[in-house]
Symmetry: C2
Subunit: 225 residues, 2 copies
DNA sequence: ATATTTAATTTTGCATTCAAAATTATGTCA
DNA sequence: TGACATAATTTTGAATGCAAAATTAAATAT
């Protein structure tokens, strides 16, 4: 038997591991916005002491996912419409840049992979499978981001994305909005295949603008719950 | 005597204070890139225990200012040409956005203040006072960023700025580059006064592209020291 | 009963402690 | 002397301990 060591043994520190786990808890909604982070329970759950847990919370706070209030601990940052209106334009600028860079550097294979995600997404759209649609959609955007070959850009984007991801996921679209988003995605793929960076950038920026509309509309309608 | 309470009493946590102090140490060059962060000494210096110090280091690591290596502590992240080539385009996109937003929202008073910084900067340029030039320059860019009224944008920019600030400061410009930068700044002010967001965005993006040239050229010439 | 104190409990921030890992110093042998 | 092994020291990561602050519960007065 051949044991392949395709990856280096990564010995991660506890706090690093915790950053990821907590991020997932927040994004997946187990920890809901506004709620206090139950430090003690989480420590017991993951069987760690408070030290690495608090280190992780500090990191998440610097990324804006949790809010630290002196002497009263941390809570999951509640996303407001104002937050969305701040975050989405920044994400738009970052995605536009990712589109421009991607067109310069993307390989045919990568375009093909994104095309595949695109067609899967269309299938899910036609069948009205929202979670699957959402996953394919995300694959496209991260695919473009990856093709841009800029880790700093990817990191910044990931950070902002985490902050609004839950709201994005929950905000179910109206028929028209969904149609529009899919139509935009056709343009995105076309611009990518043509390697027209300028055009792709503009489309992505607009795409994010429309997304903001969808999400903030939804949040406005649901913010008293 | 009238005691004005224009600001709430902010009781900051140690780790938060430390994040700022360490940031300053790194930016001002007391802790030089590549160097190991002397955890113990810094604890003694600021008279804190290792707990808040390590919390601060984790935050700085997530911002890319320091690098954590498992079981061998933290070191100041050394900025490579590759880093610059990643960071500057992202900063360019962010500044372009800040220009666009600023033109929508900036007040006449703010334009006047930026104009003042601009003229001061020109004075320092003519007198070849680089540090003062640099400070005025920075005031202009942060002024635009502030006028954009987007804290998320400002935070992202600040983070990236910190990573490359030292290199930017050290890289002294050639005569031509400096002339060019100043010429660009004339355009920046003009676009701002005309509140032409699109134009300002384009200029700022290009401005950053040129800055990258300056800095990476310098770094390439000095990287073996 | 409803405020208002006061006391008990929990939570929080930070210092201290401790074991494991890494680094440096010392010793051993060819 | 120099390559290697072994021991002492330092550094690191994480658990525990402790005092101050905040929260909750109980008690008192109105």
């Amino acid at each position: 038997m051949n044991i392949t060591m395709d990856e280096a043994i990564v010995r991660r520190s506890l706090h690093d591991e915790l950053v990821e786990r907590l991020q997932r808890l927040i994004i997946e909604g187990e920890l809901t916005p506004g709620e206090k982070v139950p430090e003690k329970e989480l420590c017991e759950r993951y069987n760690v002491s408070r030290t690495p847990m608090r280190e992780a919370l500090k990191v998440l706070a610097s990324e804006g996912l949790v809010t630290l209030t002196p002497n009263r601990g941390s809570s999951v940052t509640a996303v407001t419409v104002e937050d969305l209106e701040e975050v989405f334009p920044v994400m738009g600028a970052l995605e536009a840049l990712s589109g421009e860079l991607a067109c310069e550097k993307i390989t045919d294979a990568e375009i093909a992979a994104i095309g595949k995600s695109h067609h899967e997404m269309i299938g899910h759209y036609k069948a009205k499978r929202l979670p699957e649609y959402f996953a394919a959609n995300e694959a496209i955007h991260t695919g473009i981001l990856k093709a841009a070959r800029n880790d700093t850009l990817a990191a910044q984007h990931r950070m902002l994305s985490a902050r609004v991801r839950r709201a994005r996921y929950l905000a179910n679209m109206t028929r028209e909005r969904w149609d529009k988003a899919v139509a935009e995605h056709e343009d995105i793929l076309a611009a990518l295949e043509a390697r027209d960076g300028r055009k792709l950038g503009i489309i992505l920026k607009q795409h994010l603008r429309n997304k903001l509309e969808t999400v903030s509309e939804w949040l406005r309608a649901n913010d008293r719950e």
